[in-house]
Symmetry: C2
Subunit: 257 residues, 2 copies
């Protein structure tokens, strides 16, 4: 029995776009998560139900994002997701973003765990929660690339961010999209204006909290001109919260990539 | 001839909501502006056309926002706007937000000018630009309340924010909603968790730029328990960029206001 797919359409408003009029990476994640939340609701296993019935919630461990093209302001996109497979502790979820002509714009792979909200500990998958997705039970879920770690922080450019009240969601957690905002903002405006990511591998290790001062560090590796790479780390209280690797391509002309 | 009204529907996604599951004030402004941009497009006088044909753009001077109730996650709202009236230099635009039962949730009044993009100077309204709205030509547009100024900055709580690349839009300007984010974030999490604004008067004076370090100062006046007031100032390079006054009411219970 194949995993159930869920699709919906979304039109990108101006406030989800960046200086190049393309959807921002944090908003790309938000709209895809929106589709998965709508699937959860349709299947009767939404976040609120999981918390109230079982005291648990889904937490993402890692994303691997392949970007062919980012949609621009006012474009209508089709978001598709499915809970492809799972084992005792991990669930593997895929996402796709297509344009109205059916071209694949973005493909995202992700790995999730179920977290006991009170104990903050990973709990095993249960049939009640996973059955509605028709996910395949597997021995091992696909392993996503583990981002490199910055070898020498002295080589990195770093910016500091105070976690804002507006970064916190209804469940009291920092929305994951903010890690991507801190990561990209550590790069210069000039770089962001002239480059678009084509691959992003990100891993979440420790949650940051309201009031934390986070440091976003980045090293730009542009030795290979055709494959500009940036390596990112988010740290708080001397602990790595998230790490990522981005591969970029140069934009041709502004607003016309 | 009455001013043309434009309406559209919007369903609030989780990522436009705050810790109380209500739409954030910055997102409230974004979705209303989205409706006005769609009206501009429908009437053939969208931002891109104004810039390319005339080298000018709309800039908001002030908002006066009356909030009966803020919509929550997943609610569908109707956004309505019209360019009500104008004189030589100012245009008066109104916005409404209604729930699906037709109850008025939010009413916004706003005053706008046309700005020459190169000279950064206000230019007079022209028939070509204003005629499509069927706005009433008046001698004086309504004057919106001018927010108080913080009398003694030593009494204020202040937080500093570096303007981020992601705060900058396609036209190279800071999206106005970010001023509201800096203003509200200067308040404590405890305050924001237990209060909801019912009135906001905001005035924009000087634009902040990428890389600016802005200071968001606030004084909380809660002497009158039924009418908690906060007075806000955004400054950059020792110049006031925006000022605002918020009137708040206490929430009853979390997520159920």
């Amino acid at each position: 029995m194949a995993a159930k797919e869920f699709s919906e359409y979304h039109t990108i408003p101006f406030y989800e776009c960046d200086v190049n009029n393309q959807v921002t990476i944090p908003m790309l994640i938000n709209i895809l998560i929106l589709a998965s939340e709508h699937q959860n609701t349709e299947l009767g296993v939404d976040q609120a139900a999981l918390i109230s019935k079982f005291g648990i919630g889904w937490v993402v461990i890692s994303y691997s994002i392949k970007i062919n093209r980012l949609p621009t302001n006012n474009a209508t996109v089709k978001m598709t997701t499915r809970g492809t497979s799972y084992n005792r502790y991990f669930a593997y979820r895929e996402f796709w973003l297509h344009d109205e002509q059916g071209n694949e714009l973005v493909k995202v792979e992700s790995v999730w765990v179920l977290m006991d909200e009170k104990k903050r500990k990973i709990t095993p998958m249960t049939d009640e929660i996973i059955a509605p997705y028709h996910s395949e039970k597997v021995k091992r879920v696909p392993r996503l690339p583990r981002p490199e770690i910055i070898k020498n922080l002295a080589d990195a450019t770093a910016k500091k961010y105070q976690v804002r009240c507006s970064d916190i969601d209804f469940n009291g957690h920092v929305n994951n999209s903010h890690y991507l905002e801190w990561m990209t903002d550590a790069l210069s405006m000039e770089f962001l204006d002239t480059h678009t990511p084509k691959q992003i591998d990100i891993r979440f290790d420790n949650e940051v909290k309201y009031g934390n001062l986070v440091t976003s560090s980045v090293v730009v590796d542009s030795q290979d001109h055709d494959r500009i790479k940036t390596v990112h780390e988010i740290t708080a209280n001397d602990e790595i919260s998230a790490s990522a690797m981005f591969i970029w391509r140069q934009n041709n002309t502004k607003g016309n990539n």
